[in-house]
């Protein structure tokens, strides 16, 4: 019973959503909207579990004085402050929560994002070492594409931007589309396996 009910709900909901995709009638659109709302409601319940997990995890780290435990204090204080300010003064523009979001969270996120530039340099170095035939082809292709994107490429040889464009739109696009076909078919197969109850990993086990 513990397995049958979720599997039945999954089967019915899956089939209804497939049929809904092909029906533009407002009844069908309304059904989709209702199911989306239900997903949000369920996700909000899970968020409570998530917040609980975060608090328990960091409390245990503090109790055990695990490596890096001071960061747990920052996390727990941050969580408490954000919750109090958000619940007490709301989330609208200019409220304390919004000020913290715009002046602390957004810049911190931007700082993390900016690290990408350095990681790209190190990843490029790793990728473009001509260790074997494939890596050499990758290096040449990347070199041509990069040259084709800057004015000096045209100065060296007017055909470089054309070759660069060809690399991007022919072999590169063909590979991307091939991966895309595989992903699309894999998605259909995964959906079918879940709807029909063949794939039950999402239930927490195979039985």
């Amino acid at each position: 019973m513990q397995r049958t009910i979720p599997l039945t709900i999954c089967l019915v909901a899956g089939l209804v959503m497939i049929v809904q995709f092909f029906i533009p009638h407002p009844v069908s659109v309304g059904l989709y909207s209702v199911s989306n709302n239900w997903m949000r409601i369920i996700a909000s319940f899970a968020l409570v579990l998530g917040a609980g997990s975060l608090i328990i995890h960091h409390t245990i780290r503090l109790q055990r004085r695990q490596k890096g435990w001071p960061y747990s204090i920052v996390t727990l204080v941050g969580l408490a402050v954000a919750a109090v300010l958000g619940l007490g003064w709301g989330l609208r523009t200019g409220r304390p929560e919004d000020i913290i979001y715009r002046n602390i969270q957004v810049p911190l996120g931007a700082a993390m994002f900016s690290i990408l530039a350095f990681y790209m340099a190190s990843a490029s170095y790793r990728a473009f070492r001509a260790r074997n035939k494939e890596a050499t082809i990758l290096l040449i292709a990347a070199f041509v594409v990069m040259l084709g994107s800057v004015p000096i490429g045209t100065t060296i040889w007017t055909k470089i931007p054309i070759i660069s464009e060809w690399v991007l739109t022919v072999p590169n696009m063909a590979a991307k589309r091939a991966i895309g076909f595989g992903i699309a078919l894999g998605s259909i197969a995964t959906a079918l396996k879940i709807i029909l109850g063949i794939e039950r990993g999402w239930l927490g086990g195979e039985k």
């Binding site: 497939i18 995709f21 092909f22 029906i23 533009p24 009638h25 407002p26 069908s28 659109v29 997903m39 369920i42 996700a43 899970a46 409570v48 579990l49 998530g50 917040a51 997990s53 975060l54 995890h57 490596k67 890096g68 960061y71 969270q105 911190l108 996120g109 993390m112 994002f113 690290i115 990408l116 990681y119 790209m120 190190s122 990843a123 490029s124 790793r126 990728a127 991307k176 991966i179 895309g180 076909f181 595989g182 992903i183 078919l185 894999g186 998605s187 259909i188 197969a189 995964t190 959906a191 079918l192 396996k193 879940i194 063949i198 794939e199 990993g201 999402w202 927490g204 086990g205 195979e206």
Partner: protein, 407 residues
């Protein structure tokens, strides 16, 4: 039979429902010119020939509230604009301006109609100070029960689903299928063994996707298999999550795996936890875990965005074996560059079948491969038709070619 045909045509929006006046284009017998959206009457101005074949029909394959107006160009050359005016029926004569489109346009969709009302439209050709208009008959919008524009998707889905189900059926009857080796999945056992020997933990990152995404579902299936192995060897498995729903699934997967191998006592609830839904805050937190814990193995499986390279490069600096897999095409190059093994797109979906070796799941993989064969044939056919339709006298083939497009 006739009834069924009528219903099909009705659903497709190719005929008007009973009670609606058929649309009859009218030629203008006077000249119309409008300003703004105020009710307009045709004033006297320099006459130009009105557009012809002006028709208003319910927009097909939609949820109602839309009427499409089509016309053939005015015989007068160089019409600058066509202005679309609307009036409710029976209050005809009070037309208000809806929009103005450039002279090369031949249709306009009025997406702001009331399905309970009927409307008439005027298409006014404008050229300098001159104008001329033609009116449509009454038309009404109504919703359809099937979107025929998606028929090609329906047929393809049915064909692929049939193939998958066919091979699952044969697998159920005991037929054995061959699946090729996937290096990244073969390395799972080795990576768990390495972590056990080194006495270091394994970090499993399931990306920032939701539980509804196939890649996240596949990641959870792999997590189940990895958790079984770590439970057997009593190796620590750390699972930081960015989605609260995924967190609850991951927790159950790991707990169940420990129970299944008879080691429920080794399950540590605080090793599977929720971090944050903020993309870069999640990346920062996971980076911190990798740097502090120095794991022997890092799995990065699921859906990733810009944080993929941040995670993969940090993981590479810790010296861990990294096994990555995603269906986010733009992140694949980063994983291929920074990780030891990368599962590309569908390989990630194949993981549960590959690791569990369950016949039914393997059957679905074979079905997928035959689906790819069908897609390959369709691509070749469509490409040939496209090339042939460019030849003289074969332009009619473009109808078949267009069938492959979505919309």
């Amino acid at each position: 039979m006739n009834l069924m045909l009528s219903l099909l045509l009705l659903a497709a929006g190719m005929v008007q429902p009973p009670g609606v006046t058929p649309v009859v284009p009218q030629q203008a017998d006077s000249i119309g010119q409008t300003q703004g959206s105020a009710p307009t009457a045709p004033p006297a101005a320099a006459a130009i020939a009105p557009p012809t074949n002006v028709r208003a029909v319910d927009t097909p394959n939609d949820g109602g509230k839309s009427i499409t107006i089509t016309w053939s160009p005015s015989p007068d050359k160089d019409v600058e604009f066509y202005e679309i005016q609307r009036a409710e029926v029976p209050a005809a004569g009070v037309f208000t301006s809806l929009d103005k489109v450039v002279g090369t346009e031949r249709s306009y969709a009025d997406g702001n109609t009331d399905d309970a009302k009927q409307y008439k439209y005027r298409v006014v050709a404008l050229k300098g100070a001159g104008s001329g208009y033609a009116e449509t008959g009454a038309a009404r919008s109504y919703p359809q029960w099937f979107n025929f524009n998606l028929l090609n998707i329906l047929i393809c889905t049915v064909v692929v689903s049939f193939l998958i189900l066919y091979f699952i059926y044969h697998a159920r009857r005991g037929k054995e299928f061959f699946i090729r080796r996937i290096a990244g999945l073969d390395a799972v056992e080795e990576s768990v063994g390495r972590a056990t020997e080194m006495g270091k933990p394994i970090v499993f990152i399931s990306g920032i996707g939701s539980a509804a995404q196939p890649s996240t579902i596949s990641a959870m299936n792999i997590l189940g298999e990895v958790a079984k192995k770590t439970a057997q060897y009593s190796t620590a498995l750390i699972v930081p999550n960015s989605d609260p729903v995924v967190y609850t699934i991951a927790r159950e997967m790991v707990k169940e795996a420990h129970t299944k191998v008879g080691r429920p006592d080794t399950y540590r609830a605080d090793n599977v936890f929720f971090l944050t839904q903020e993309q870069f805050a999640y990346a920062a937190a996971v980076d911190g875990i990798m740097v502090r814990e120095k794991p022997a193995t890092i799995f990065m499986l699921g859906w990733f965005a810009a944080e993929a390279l941040i995670l993969a490069e940090t993981g590479a600096t810790t010296g861990a074996i990294q096994i990555a897999g995603t269906d986010a095409i733009y992140q694949l190059p980063f994983f291929i560059t920074a990780c030891d093994y990368t599962l590309i797109g569908e390989e990630l979906y194949a993981a549960s079948a590959y690791l569990s070796r369950q016949p039914l799941l393997i059957g679905s993989l074979v079905g997928q491969d035959y689906g790819k064969l069908v897609v390959l044939i369709a691509v070749l056919l469509a490409s040939a038709l496209y090339l042939l339709s460019a030849a003289r006298g074969l332009s009619g083939l473009s109808v078949v070619w267009n069938w492959f497009s979505i919309g």
